[in-house]
């Protein structure tokens, strides 16, 4: 990231713009509420918009002074990958069930992010899944998603 | 061995009508969906009743209570309405709440979505005042409300619930006007009453039974004195035709096979005479009044009509 990026793309500026847009959009449904119901949410949304404008101005002023914005992520690929895996895991729990997804996600995440010791992976996965099953299923009769796909 | 013995006993006890299919139900665990968290009044009612229903269904029947809390029971009851009508998914049902919700918001079910099994609990409304209010009789309360319309604040658990309907009935009967203060739940309402922050409260009898020394209980909204608290007078005795309460029971999805209905109905019938059951329910603040089948359905319809009428006149949201 050696070449200078456009000023609008600074992380704080982007966040501020995003906040303004979202808060403004959420402001719309407050008009349908009774005034007393709308009071607190509208105040907070307007507060968010006003504060975001200040944030935007402050960040742009810093940009004008030539200050560089700190990079948000050291390695964006790993961040996106990690987050993607977490989301995939949640969706998998929902669709194919908690236990199979869990037995899969632990070794997958650990492997992809650098722990590549097969025996260690096996032991860890069996221990974690087994302990969860023992405590929650056997001990507490607690059900986890069985998977919509199967029903 | 044990199973054979049980089956024999059961065949003796049950109605002969249904034959082979009947003897088979239930062949796997029955799930009862409770729309509230474990430990709530409805949950405790379901879990207590479940033990006895298992007993009366016989054949090693087992009932599994599943909590699906959220949206004042709506998430659970919607799930029940959409389940397969095979007798293996039942649900708890609260009145008038479940019907009122079909009126004040979009609901994924209606009156016709259920097979009505039995109402088990009827927790009548009571009107109470704080010790410091000086209003010790219902006549004094109404006189005060008539004198200064709206000056009396009424603590209750929510709008669109049984206590709200009780107040509407009282206002219609007497012409008095009150200011409603809907707390989140009855315990905060009762506490505010004890602290003198509101003048009057509409609660349920189970909620005030332990607090009779801290509050003035002006009357109970039942036809006859409640077995749950026989010392407390009814409104009828005092010349006001106010009958109202909160009910909890069991329903199944609409279209339940006749033999399954018959079997469950028989179990609920036996429930109503079981002294152990009545005691277990009394211990957990659940005044029992079993209303089965069609009578339960009629009761639900009446309450729906009442809620619809109130909504038409004074919508609460």
């Amino acid at each position: 990231m050696s070449q200078p990026r456009p000023r609008v793309l600074r992380p704080e500026t982007l966040t501020a713009i995003g906040l303004i847009v979202i808060a403004a959009a959420l402001l719309v449904p407050t008009f349908e509420l009774r005034p007393i119901s709308a009071l607190l949410p509208a105040a907070m949304l307007i507060g968010l918009i006003a504060l975001s404008v200040l944030l935007l101005l402050a960040d742009q002023r810093r940009a004008a002074k030539g200050e560089k914005a700190a990079p948000v992520a050291q390695s964006p690929k790993r961040v996106i990958g990690a987050f993607g895996l977490v989301v995939a895991y949640a969706v998998a729990c929902d669709l194919v069930g908690f236990y199979p997804s869990t037995a899969l996600i632990i070794p997958t995440v650990a492997w992809l992010f650098g722990f590549r010791h097969p025996l260690g992976l096996l032991v860890a996965t069996v221990t974690v899944v087994g302990a969860i099953w023992l405590i929650f299923d056997l001990g507490m009769n607690q059900e986890f998603p069985a998977g919509r796909f199967w029903s | 061995m044990f199973n054979i013995f049980k089956t024999t006993a059961l065949t003796g006890a049950l109605v002969l009508a249904a034959g082979a299919a009947l003897a088979e139900y239930p062949e796997k665990p029955i799930e009862v969906i409770v729309g509230y968290s474990a430990g709530g009044g409805t949950d405790v009612m379901a879990r207590t009743a479940a033990l006895f229903i298992e007993k009366y269904l016989g054949e090693g029947a087992s009932i599994v209570v599943k909590n699906m809390p959220g949206a004042s029971g709506q998430i659970g009851v919607t799930e029940v309405a959409g389940s397969a009508p095979d007798g293996y998914t039942l649900g708890t049902f609260n009145l008038p709440g479940m019907m009122a919700r079909t009126i004040d918001r979009e609901a994924g079910y209606d009156r016709e979505s259920f097979t009505y099994l039995a109402n088990v609990v009827n927790d009548p409304n009571v009107i109470v005042t704080g010790k410091g209010s000086g209003l010790t009789t219902i006549d004094a309360l109404i006189a005060a409300a008539l004198e200064a319309p709206g000056a009396i604040t009424v603590g209750m658990s929510s709008l669109g619930g049984d206590d709200h309907f009780a107040l509407i009935k009282l206002q219609t009967l007497t012409g008095a006007e009150f200011t409603i203060v809907p707390f989140k739940g009855s315990a905060p309402a009762r506490t505010a009453l004890m602290g003198g922050h509101v003048a009057m409260g509409i609660l349920n009898i189970s909620e005030v039974a332990s607090f009779t020394e801290e509050l003035n209980v002006l009357g109970v909204a039942t036809e006859e004195r409640s077995r749950f608290a026989p010392d407390l007078p009814t409104f009828k005795e005092q010349g006001i035709e106010l009958v109202n309460g909160s009910m909890r029971g069991f329903v199944a999805p609409a279209g339940l096979p006749g033999d399954v209905v018959a079997k469950l109905d028989a179990a609920f019938e036996q429930l109503s005479g079981d002294q152990d059951f009545l005691k277990a329910m009394a211990d957990t603040a659940n005044p029992v009044e079993i209303v089965r089948g069609d009578a339960f359905k009629a009761l639900t319809s009446d309450l729906y009509d009442l809620a619809a009428k109130v909504w038409a006149e004074t919508p609460w949201n």
Partner: protein, 501 residues
């Protein structure tokens, strides 16, 4: 009453009953220590299970879990900057910096001793002062509770962190999240987008797990390191050697206990507010307020003593009036009802052996904490950090899903948590402070609900908020504790600037 208290004691020592407390404390510490799992979740999973148990076994388990979890939450708060329970948020302020300085072991010891002391103080308050304290609760009607909430919200000012604008954005975000759900008075939907799952509002646990646990997990995976925490010097020493270093904390412990007990008896506010307030007050009266937030052991003591001091006291309004002081107490109230214990004045007469036995169990749970917690935390949990980072991250992800799913048994909450996780990651990277979000969520809707109840009682007249002594005292307190110090520090800064100029 006090004879009843002694009468109930022998039964508490029955093998099964006492074992239940021990198991509960250990389970509580474990649950609290697992990022993603919370005491609320543990007890709500436990309640249906206790249906078939003897009352004192069931209640002993719950008392143990509650005490254990309130301390257990400090373990990941110190070691990973992930508060294990909502109430442990304030523990991260100084606990994590201590761990980074190689004083993690000492931080955990301070936490366990403080937690235990807070729990003991709270148990005594419950045992000896429940009836008079419940009278205090009665003084707090909607308008008074509104002012308590305002007091709490104002103290957000001390949690803003470096940038005031970002801190306030965090606070607004928290308060806005708190209004999602049904309107407190009319019950109509606000920002639920027709999702029934949102109707009851967003549970603090969901927000907390998303905001606080997900970003550190991503961090764990982001840095390509194979071993555990960078520098794994915990600095463990035996508790007896560590104790003398805590002798200066007695004022903080006393203050924190009183704050915790006090917040506990007020309905609805809960452990996090107690911990924040205790932390603020301790810092305010410290001679070296500048070292706070950079690894001051007294900060850990202040937060932990207060979040345990509200455990038993939260049960005072729960048992006497049926209004729980914290979310956990609310779930426990359900557990009591399962065993036929209905809250109210009769409870102490009709079921005195069980109720007083339960109170003793709270006391023993708090005492056991120091015995079990010290060694368990430093010997086992801290070792978990030696796990390879990718593996640790993967396990925490699984725990987060379990913890959030188990609260209501639905995947919706898990997706919601992931949404908050994404928001939390951005906030973390852009240095938006997270504590204002937590406090805003806890107190925002709470303040609104009570304001609107008060207005209804006053029939729309805002003067109702100033009409009684308790309210006025609270207003004065808010001004005295928050506004005045703020003005003072501004003046001091201005003077300093002048001096330099």
């Amino acid at each position: 009453m006090y004879t009843d208290l002694l009468h109930a004691l022998p039964n508490v020592f029955a093998l099964a009953n006492f074992a239940a407390v021990i198991i509960g404390v250990i389970a509580g510490i474990v649950v609290g220590a697992m990022p993603g799992l919370s005491a609320t979740m543990a007890i709500s999973v436990l309640v249906p299970f206790t249906f078939g148990l003897e009352p004192l076994v069931a209640l002993g388990l719950m008392a143990g879990i509650y005490n254990g979890a309130m301390y257990g939450g400090a373990i990941p708060a110190v070691l990973l900057r992930i508060p294990g329970t909502p109430a442990a948020v304030a523990t991260t302020f100084d606990g994590y910096p201590m761990a980074q300085k190689g004083q993690g072991g000492f931080a955990l010891q301070v936490a366990v001793v403080s937690s235990s002391l807070g729990g003991i103080a709270s148990a005594f308050a419950l045992m000896l002062l429940a009836p008079p304290l419940s009278k205090v609760t009665l003084l707090f009607g909607p308008s008074e509770v509104f002012w308590v909430a305002v007091f709490g919200l104002c103290s957000i000012i001390f949690l803003l962190g470096g940038s005031v604008i970002k801190g306030l954005i965090s606070a607004c975000f928290g308060v806005f999240v708190s209004v999602v759900g049904s309107d407190p008075i009319y019950g109509n939907d606000r920002f639920t987008f027709s999702q029934l799952e949102l109707l009851d509002g967003i549970s603090i646990v969901i927000l907390l797990v998303g905001l606080y646990a997900l970003p550190p997990v991503i961090d764990l995976l982001e840095k390509p390191l194979k071993t555990g925490v960078d520098d794994n010097k915990l600095g463990t020493e035996s508790l007896w050697k560590a104790l003398p270093r805590m002798k200066g904390f007695w004022k903080t412990w006393l203050r924190g206990s009183l704050i915790g007990i006090w917040i506990g008896i007020l309905p609805g506010a809960g452990g996090s507010m107690a911990a924040f307030m205790s932390y603020n007050e301790a810092r305010r009266s410290s001679k070296t307020p500048d070292t706070w937030g950079e690894g001051e052991p007294e900060g850990v003591a202040a937060a932990e003593v207060a979040n345990n001091a509200d455990t038993a006291s939260a049960l005072i309004p729960a048992l006497t009036l049926g209004i729980p002081g914290t979310a956990v107490a609310a779930v426990m109230l359900g557990g009591l009802l399962v065993h036929g214990l209905q809250p109210g004045p009769m409870l102490f007469r009709d079921n005195s052996d069980i109720v007083f036995g339960f109170m003793w169990q709270f006391l023993f749970g708090a005492i056991l904490l120091v015995l079990l917690g010290g060694s368990l935390a430093t010997n086992s949990f801290a070792k978990l950090l030696n796990l390879p980072r990718p593996l640790l991250g993967a396990i925490i992800i699984v725990l987060m899903v379990i913890g959030v799913y188990s609260i209501h048994g639905r995947m919706f909450d898990v997706y919601l948590m992931l949404g908050f996780g994404a928001v939390g990651w951005v906030m973390d990277k852009l240095k938006f402070p997270l504590p204002p979000v937590v406090l805003g969520l806890i107190l925002g809707a709470f303040a609104e609900e009570n304001l609107r109840l008060a207005l209804r009682i006053g029939r729309g007249d805002w003067a109702v908020l100033f009409q009684n002594t308790t309210s006025l005292v609270l207003v004065a307190l808010t001004v005295g504790v928050i506004v005045v110090p703020l003005v003072k520090s501004r003046l001091a800064k201005a003077r300093q600037a002048e001096g330099q100029a």
